[in-house]
Point group: C2
Chain length 267, copies 2
């Protein structure tokens, strides 16, 4: 994997880097670029939210994006087509059924997928089998336990806990980000390097406050309201107070922190 | 304030940067350097742990380090002398009694001090009064609410909570790091920029695991054992299990995360 992203580094550059990240996607993906001619497997592409960035940042690579959901693949196909990208092939497939084509990919890319799986270690073992020796894996996951904010609020923490609990009941782990290193090492990948990507949003970074605190994180937690109430995890008033408290952290004196973990390893 | 710290930036550089930080002090201080001839007030120098770095990184600046404790100042003086530094003057003084010498300093530096004060906003107002117009303030604080780890452990979180509770009872706030931005803005400083400094320690970074996870953070929490038991906040077995769980995160498959916040503002 080539890193084509080099520029001056100092505190101001670091701040600018974060400011300029037009979106979360930039912050997570801008340092991933695969060489022309290489073959890349994107495992669990969903509706293609990451696929477009992946394909754009590696225009010469041949990307195979798989997902178990035909409906999601339909949306991903449309997205990639709208973006004018032609280097992606889609396949409906279950990760665990991918036994053919062993050791055929130069690189594997997995983003926001393991958090939903009950057997993340086994999934990594399957993906390792699909990589050629010397090939790389890139793994990106969030971690809801990394969320903290000002003003602090117990109700807000409980609302986040609803999402964590629902994901747990569905067999997943919303706090998997911190485990990226042990997961990759445990699956036998070599030269594993993990770098945290912390989103820090205060009023001096209005784009992040709006784009991340409000429209990404809080909107996502707000989205589990009905499921959390139906599951009896929380009372409606308590949940709504938590959401209100999360939006409160996007005010002028508020601060919101969240960390994603990006790991790279070699076979 | 001049930043003399510029080098290539990419993911590898970021990783190396963290690896090469010989200590926590480097990670926090390496981008703070004051011009020759400038006057710097270090408010709350304690035993001089930060003073030595501050004076070394700004050899031409004239630093005045104050503290309320004569005993601490004695230790700080010895430390600075042993380091062969001659650009520091010490003064026994209470921050809130510093009314003389208004607007006389070019820069103010405050590290791990506000977390112990019951009136952090008022302290910043006093410090602002001591700065010349156009002068800078640099503020560094940790945040115990930013600590999370793998394997996760409720007992470990409770042990950390003991330190937070003891500090709260003493009038302080161990989770103040996330408030650096609103505190500086609230005190009327301009062009406030806050950058988080996340310590991420996994087995690929053995120096950080040993130097930070074991010997800095866990040792610090372990240090409040007697006080926490005496205050009746926790049972001894529970606390000891928490400490054991924190040391467990320093094993080969463990991960430990903690974030410091560094803010700079201008008068």
């Amino acid at each position: 994997m080539a890193s084509s992203y080099v520029h001056g580094y100092d505190e101001n550059a670091r701040a600018r880097l974060q400011d300029q990240a037009r979106s979360l996607v930039d912050m997570l993906h801008s340092d991933t670029s695969y060489p022309a001619g290489s073959t890349v497997l994107e495992a669990g592409c969903g509706t293609g939210a990451q696929t477009v960035t992946l394909a754009r940042n590696s225009p010469g690579a041949r990307i195979t994006s798989i997902d178990v959901s035909a409906m999601h693949l339909e949306e991903a196909r449309a997205r990639v087509k709208t973006a004018g990208l032609t280097n992606v092939e889609f396949q409906e497939a279950d990760l665990f059924a991918l036994l053919a084509g062993e050791e055929s990919f130069d690189h594997v890319f997995v983003c926001f997928v393991l958090e939903h799986l009950s057997r993340p270690r086994e999934a990594l073992a399957v993906l390792k089998g699909l990589l050629r020796p010397g090939g790389s894996i890139t793994l990106i996951e969030g971690d809801h336990g990394s969320a903290y904010f000002h003003p602090d609020s117990e109700a807000a923490r409980e609302a986040i806990g609803c999402q964590v609990e629902l994901q747990r009941r569905a067999g997943g782990n919303a706090n998997i980000g911190r485990e990226v290193y042990p997961l990759l090492v445990g699956a036998g990948f070599k030269r594993v390097r993990v770098s945290p990507r912390m989103v820090y949003a205060d009023a001096s970074r209005p784009d992040l406050v709006d784009g991340f605190t409000r429209k990404t994180f809080t909107a996502m937690i707000e989205g589990v309201r009905e499921a959390a109430l139906a599951a009896g995890i929380v009372k409606s008033e308590r949940f709504d107070n938590g959401i209100k408290a999360l939006y409160r952290t996007a005010e002028a004196d508020g601060v919101f922190c969240y960390t994603f973990f990006k790991g790279v390893g070699e076979k």
